[in-house]
């Protein structure tokens, strides 16, 4: 509860000033400061926005910094605003007993991002699920097929412009 009561740090400068000793922030700053596009601390949770072409290296950097456990990954569709897609990764540290959120923002046209299966093999099913339900491709994924829906399914149901009623 005490974590959640900490004040919001709304942008990267505030996060860098407010929590300079945070292991994930420190590791990403040391790795590639330009690829850490934005940061936010809200509801007791740290969100770090990474440049889309750098996510695999960023994942490897936080993994080396002690965030050893890939917990969850999903996408959010911000249709009709741009950039349209947000891919969120939740990474847990068994040592610090703490979680961070990495995210990348993707454009509407041909959304694709690097796969992090080379860093955490457990991301395999999660990336297939996001591919299936959002239509975001993951470069370098070993087996990028639909996972929930039949292979011949048309469309990606969790997109906001997918019709929720009527005939397909």
């Amino acid at each position: 509860m005490t974590e959640a009561l900490k004040p919001t740090l709304a942008n990267k400068a505030a996060v860098l000033e407010g929590m300079p000793d945070h292991p994930a922030v420190k590791a990403l700053e040391a790795w590639n400061s330009a690829a850490l596009v934005e940061a936010r601390f809200d509801f007791g949770e740290l969100t770090l926005t990474i440049a889309p072409d750098q996510i695999r290296a960023a994942a490897a950097a936080v993994q080396a910094a002690g965030y050893n456990f890939f917990e969850d990954m999903t996408a959010v569709d911000w249709y009709p605003s741009a950039p349209r897609f947000q891919v969120s990764y939740h990474i847990l540290s068994h040592a610090f007993k703490e979680r961070i959120r990495l995210r990348v923002l993707l454009d509407e046209v041909d959304p694709s991002v690097e796969s992090i299966t080379a860093v955490w093999a457990g991301a395999n099913y999660y990336e297939r699920e996001v591919f299936d339900l959002f239509g975001i491709r993951f470069e370098g994924h070993p087996n990028l097929r639909r996972i929930m829906l039949p292979d011949e399914w048309k469309g990606h149901p969790l997109r906001k412009d997918y019709p929720v009623e009527g005939y397909r």
Partner: protein, 404 residues
Amino acid sequence: MTNPAGMPTLEPAQGAKDQHMVINMGPQHPATHGVLRLVLEIDGEIIVRIYPEIGYLHTGIEKTCEAKFYQQVVPLTDRINYLDPLSNNLCYALAVEKLLGLEIPAKGQWLRVVLAELSRLNSHLIWLGTHAMDIGALTVFLYTFREREDILRLFEAVAGQRMMTSYIRIGGVSMEPPLDFFSRVQAFISSLPEKIDEYANLLTGNPIFRNRLKGVGYLSSADAIALGVTGPPLRASGVDIDLRRDMPYSGYQNFEFKVPTSTDGDCWARYEVRLVEMRESVKIIQQALDGMPEGAVKADAPKIVLPDREKMKTQMEALIHHFKIITEGFEVPAGEVYQGIEAGHGQTGYYVVSDGTSKPYRVHMRYPSFATLQSLEVMCKGRMLADLVAVIGSIDIVLGEIDR
């Protein structure tokens, strides 16, 4: 012959094409604990590769959530992991309460702990019964379902429903438990340890059960972490992590309990870890009953928590709030939160994104079985086909939470 669309294409290793056989297991198979389909490539009786095919139970719950008010999502969460319903409710409620900044009174939190632990016991009892049945020990199933019936009666007493409870709501629990509830829980947990001894007597010394589980389905701690395995399988592989102790929620920091671990990493270790976990759950419930605080079970937030029926019928204010919550819902501040809890099967997490309206913009559920299923191939590769059944039982998957 060409494969019909949707069939996974199997490419056996070069040069060994005529020795390997591809067989299908499931989706209608008693040992897959639901509608799991496994396409197996085997060399004689040795498993070469496993291709799990999931999605037979996919209902699009995440999409449905986006069309509901926040409080209307609670009943949907029950249906995901139907063996551990109250943990689902708890995780979702905690996530939305984090967005709202809502504090739950102590009694509400402790009551949630009692119910979450009963729910964990429910989940472990079903696991033990079905796992033993898969191995051939049919009797244990009848024993564990006897105790499970008692738990379902307790759920029915508080929620009026045996399986789809929806008892834990945003802002607390739906209502005060009935007067004799705590004495009934006390009677149940007083008798449970000797019932667990009874299961252990049937299984732990049983040479068939031992030989089927010992050294079978080995999972190293490095593989377990890489593949996202959580819960009892992770602890049985030697990783000492339990969110109840390490990142406490809902007042778990007030309870003392041991987190069992093992370094063996096989099916037997998972069996032993879960058995100890059941005994620890009993201790947590006992502590909660002994120290149950006085006070309200719901937060004092009239615009979010539904008023009691009595007040709704007699007070104008309460009637207005009731009407507003039912017809318009309540607005939740914009933002995104992730809440993880330790459920019976492992780490459950809810990722809720709000855009400031009364309907969630996006709800994503992280369920442990989805990640744990990925480890099946690692555990079974190069082993006998018959071991597969033991391994599926020992990782305790629920297809409702894999497919969602």
